[in-house]
Point group: C2
């Protein structure tokens, strides 16, 4: 059974944080959300849209009295945020983040919170939209989504259980991994595809023919490149924070691509078909 | 206004050809479809599903008496098919293909049909599904789809107009390009993404961790890799037929990727953000 929280402090009223606030209120797990965003106009908009109930003037003010604290800021801002709110990360409060990388977040928590980092549960809901901003917040974003928690050996068991129950109550599927495993897996299934999609779209631009190219693009292009529309700030931080793992995955991709290039160059239809069939069978069998 | 055809000869009763037969019959543009597939069981299934009306025992039999002939075979089989049916490609018949590459198809037509290649209109509807086979044929597949016609300077104008009218009557958006332009554009917006998606999926496979990786894959992975489930025979032929153009586009991608790698390696957040923003803005503005 998930706990009920009288007050949630939300730091970062964007798509991810806003969606969580809406979902928790709709599920009756949170009574009141006090929200803070670095940009006052975002905080005001979140209030107008009913995503948060009270506008806080600072991250500290958002956390005062909260039983649940959620950091929904770009991952690079995690350390700074923890520094500001460290006094509120306490045994009777569940503190989580929503960041897409986890080793850097765990490090930042340990550095800024010290011993009290044990009350913080690093969380990454694998969900999102190609549009950012609180105006796209959606109470159903996490329903059916995969959520990875990456507690350290020091993390308090009861906090992990509380976090697990919270996400399950929203209809998410919870996985528990180490931060290292998380970053390695996500580099493969999320960060590398984003990097490829960004680089691919840019490779089409900047020439006279770009417009004609894009006019003839069809459904394959649409799906393949959808993630290239991702938020620049968020993905900048993710690609930087996890660059070592991503570079490793990119090397694997290049090796795989070279197999295709060799078969194409040699005109080896059988080898090429076998390579495509391997991918096609694996992708056809996958379902989320 | 689109012409009406009493009889359509369909060679290749798969997803693409079957969908066209269904669409033309539903639109009242074709009365009877005589179909042939290399595999007799496919031809029989197409008849049972009502995609074709009459099973032909050979490609020639499918074409005898047809006013509209459609080749819907893997592109590498185009030459051989034209050789078999060359006597039926005549001034009073509209002959089209549906292949994803066009320079090789035009060459095969000129070689096998000689002077009568002028009655053949090379066509490529940019549509498809991640599943192949006549059982997935869909009368609405081409509605709203982009269709590229690549007539040569020799192609009869009235045949191009007939082909154009036919596709427009199905709700498709028709573009006319040279075969070279087509192959260059499609290498960029379709063939390269397929190659990347195939190679990417294969790069995740074959290790103990593959299963765990795929279990944690989310909506980004789903969309990015959807086209990796494409038909192996079809894509083998496309990647081989258009390998020169694809190799050129791949080089552009590698250059673009290197810009990201440099920024990531240098930890240059501003440069990285600018690169991502360029892609994100372009992709956000695109719509099909």
């Amino acid at each position: 059974m998930a706990m009920m929280y009288n007050q949630m402090g939300l730091i970062g009223c964007g798509l991810m944080g806003g969606s969580l606030a809406l979902a928790l209120k709709r599920a009756g797990l949170v009574k009141q959300v006090v929200g803070y965003s670095k940009s006052p106009s975002t905080t005001a908009k979140a209030r107008q849209l009913g995503v948060i109930d009270v506008e806080a003037k600072s991250a500290m003010q958002a956390c005062a009295g909260a039983e649940l604290i959620v950091l929904a800021v770009p991952v690079a801002a995690t350390g700074e945020t923890f520094k500001t709110i460290r006094q509120f990360v306490q045994p009777d409060v569940l503190t989580m983040d929503l960041g897409s990388t986890k080793q850097d977040v765990v490090q930042a928590a340990e550095k800024q919170l010290g011993w009290n980092a044990q009350y913080f549960v690093p969380a990454h809901p694998i969900a999102g939209k190609e549009v950012a901003g609180v105006e796209h917040a959606d109470a159903t974003l996490y329903h059916g989504a995969k959520v990875v928690l990456t507690p350290t050996p020091a993390t308090a068991i009861d906090k992990v259980e509380q976090a697990q129950a919270l996400w399950k109550a929203l209809g998410s599927h919870v996985f528990i991994l180490s931060a290292l495993e998380h970053d390695s897996v996500l580099a493969a299934v999320s960060h590398l595809p984003h990097l490829l999609a960004f680089a691919y779209v840019n490779s089409l631009l900047g020439r006279d023919e770009s417009e004609r190219l894009l006019r003839l693009a069809g459904p394959g292009f649409r799906d393949f490149s959808r993630i290239a529309a991702g938020d620049a700030t968020l993905w900048r931080d993710v690609l930087l924070a996890n660059r070592v793992e991503i570079a490793g995955r990119l090397r694997e991709l290049v090796l795989s691509l070279q197999q295709f290039q060799r078969a194409m160059h040699a005109g080896d239809a059988d080898a090429l078909e076998a390579l495509i069939r391997k991918a096609s069978v694996a992708r056809s069998q996958w379902h989320d």
